[in-house]
């Protein structure tokens, strides 16, 4: 038996997971909690948010995120890859910044419009 705090939503359900019994989960208020428990104990994933450099924009950084969760173990490598990027303004929200980040099949996308500084 393993105890987890669900991080899917701000409710933060306290989960009790039976690893011996196909990860049967108790304490979850919704089905997403059981999915989270299974993933967390087998192949944990996280959505990564960070920023990338931008030239010519109203701010020097643009927020980005992975369009879906990626394996937790890849976060440090993903941060190194993200640090190497520099965009030129204007940036559009949803614009793909790095396609197929580290071969995960998940794109890194821009989280806001960043107009050119006039």
């Amino acid at each position: 038996m393993k105890e987890l705090t669900c991080i899917v939503c701000p409710r933060g359900c306290r989960l009790v997971v039976d690893e011996e019994n196909d990860y049967a989960t108790a304490g979850n208020a919704c089905p997403r909690g059981a999915e989270y428990a299974h993933a967390e104990l087998t192949a944990p994933t996280r959505v990564l948010t960070s920023t990338v450099a931008v030239t010519g924009g109203i701010h020097p950084r643009c927020p980005v995120k992975t369009a879906a969760a990626i394996p937790k173990g890849l976060l440090p490598a993903a941060m190194r890859r993200i640090r190497a990027v520099c965009l030129a303004a204007p940036v559009q929200e949803g614009q793909v910044v790095i396609p197929d980040l580290l071969g995960t099949g998940v794109d890194l996308v821009a989280c806001r419009d960043l107009p050119r500084a006039d």
Binding site: C6, P10, L48, T49, E93
Partner: protein
């Protein structure tokens, strides 16, 4: 006086102000003005680049800038005038004195006003940490702005004081950007942040959370060099002999937020000493007729989704007021009883209630299985079961309006199972 008049004027272009302005317009206010002191709309959401926003309102997980972006795009073409880079200097009844580089000094009259100025962080001065005064001490939100918008990492070896959500989020953010976060130090025996943030911001990165601990000394001449941390007793007094020294160059403070009510106070609006925001009625109207308040300027929220919902109510009510609708008649007071820190709203117009009256509150401490009970003159008017409550998480109950009478104050309290 020049002739500038708007039906509804909203002060502050963050999530609260944007939602209030949009709802005022949708409710039929012909001329709506949104005033923002920054160079762009979005408020603090612009620097909250982490995800987890919008789960209630949009039913999906967005980052702060994405949540703001949805409202910014809705404002485009909604027929709402927006003044950026503009400060409101004074609120004099329903008359605003404003100043901006582009427009100069302008006096604007309103049919109604919505206060949505948000909050700011408590600083070192507010909590009185002894020690020298070197560089390297930031509020967590200031560091967040430096890192996420300006692109500066504020330090390499970081200690975080306070376990509010911004501190937890910054612990993860600084770690991802290559800094070492040595510990998060919390004076209370429980965290002030959401449970999910303890897991995904501290546990994920093996950052220790030291509960019932505080910083007793900061050392360093020009830059922070060390912080001395000690355990505290039940009265939050440091226990001699428990000191440990951290070698760090940076201290981030996440020790609470204060609604920014300078304008409201100067306008003579009644302020609740517990929320540090205006006293409001069920429609978010303050003690000054025609002036409404919503979002973090009213009381500090944990979730922007609730800010949006509250601000939409304020915006609609402001439009109704500007159109001549008044709420009058018998009034009820809502009081915080045992175990309840505060309630919002604090007053009700008995004749103007919907079927249920949403009531927001924070418990004073952590509770296990318990009941939240509302009583009027000894009579129970509502009872709500809770599995767990904590001061870090705002609670909501819906009182049935039918059971409320012109019979004295309604008191909300927490009753634990025997």
């Amino acid at each position: 006086m020049n002739g500038l008049y708007y039906d509804v004027i909203v002060i502050g272009g963050g999530p609260a102000g944007m939602a209030a302005a949009l709802s005022a317009r949708e409710q039929g206010a012909p001329k709506v003005l949104l005033i923002e002191r920054d160079c762009e709309l979005g408020g603090i959401l612009n620097q909250c680049i982490h995800n987890g926003f919008g789960l209630h309102y949009f039913k999906q997980e967005l980052t702060g800038p994405e949540y703001a972006g949805r409202f910014i795009r809705r404002l485009d073409g909604a027929g709402i005038e927006v003044w950026l880079d503009t400060m409101v200097l004074e609120l004099d009844g329903l008359c605003l004195h404003t100043v901006s580089a582009a427009g100069g000094y302008r006096v604007v009259r309103a049919g109604s006003v919505v206060l949505a100025m948000g909050c700011r962080e408590r600083t070192r001065g507010a909590i009185g940490i002894p020690g020298s005064r070197p560089a390297g001490i930031f509020t967590a939100g200031a560091a967040q702005r430096y890192v996420n918008i300006e692109g500066y990492l504020v330090g390499r070896r970081v200690l975080i004081l306070g376990s509010g959500d911004i501190g937890l989020i910054m612990a993860r953010r600084m770690t991802l950007e290559g800094a070492s976060v040595l510990a998060c130090v919390e004076v209370m025996p429980y965290s002030g942040g959401l449970a999910r943030n303890i897991v995904q911001c501290l546990h994920d990165y093996d950052i220790p959370l030291l509960l019932s601990h505080t910083i007793v000394e900061i050392r360093g001449k020009n830059r922070v060099e060390q912080a001395v941390v000690a355990a505290v007793d039940g009265d939050r007094r440091p226990i001699p002999g428990t000191e440990q020294v951290f070698d760090c160059d940076t201290i981030l403070l996440s020790v609470g937020l204060i609604p920014e009510n300078e304008l409201s106070r100067a306008a003579g609006i009644a302020i609740d000493p517990h929320t540090k925001g205006a006293v409001v009625y069920e429609n978010m109207q303050t003690s000054l007729p025609g002036v409404f308040a919503c979002g973090n300027v009213l009381h500090v929220h944990d979730l922007v989704d609730y800010v949006t919902a509250e601000s939409q109510r304020a915006g609609r009510a402001a439009a109704d007021y500007a159109a001549g609708q008044r709420r009058e008649g018998a009034e009820l007071e809502l009081c915080a009883g045992d175990g309840v820190g505060y309630t919002v709203p604090q007053r009700l117009h008995l004749a103007h209630l919907d079927k249920t009256v949403p009531m927001f509150f924070r418990p004073r401490r952590v509770y296990g299985t318990c009941a939240v009970v509302a009583r009027q003159n000894g009579r129970q008017v509502g009872r709500f079961r809770r599995e767990r409550m904590a001061p870090g998480e705002m609670e909501q109950v819906a009182l049935p309006a039918l059971l409320l009478q012109d019979d004295g104050p309604v008191t909300l309290c927490v009753e634990e199972d025997a």
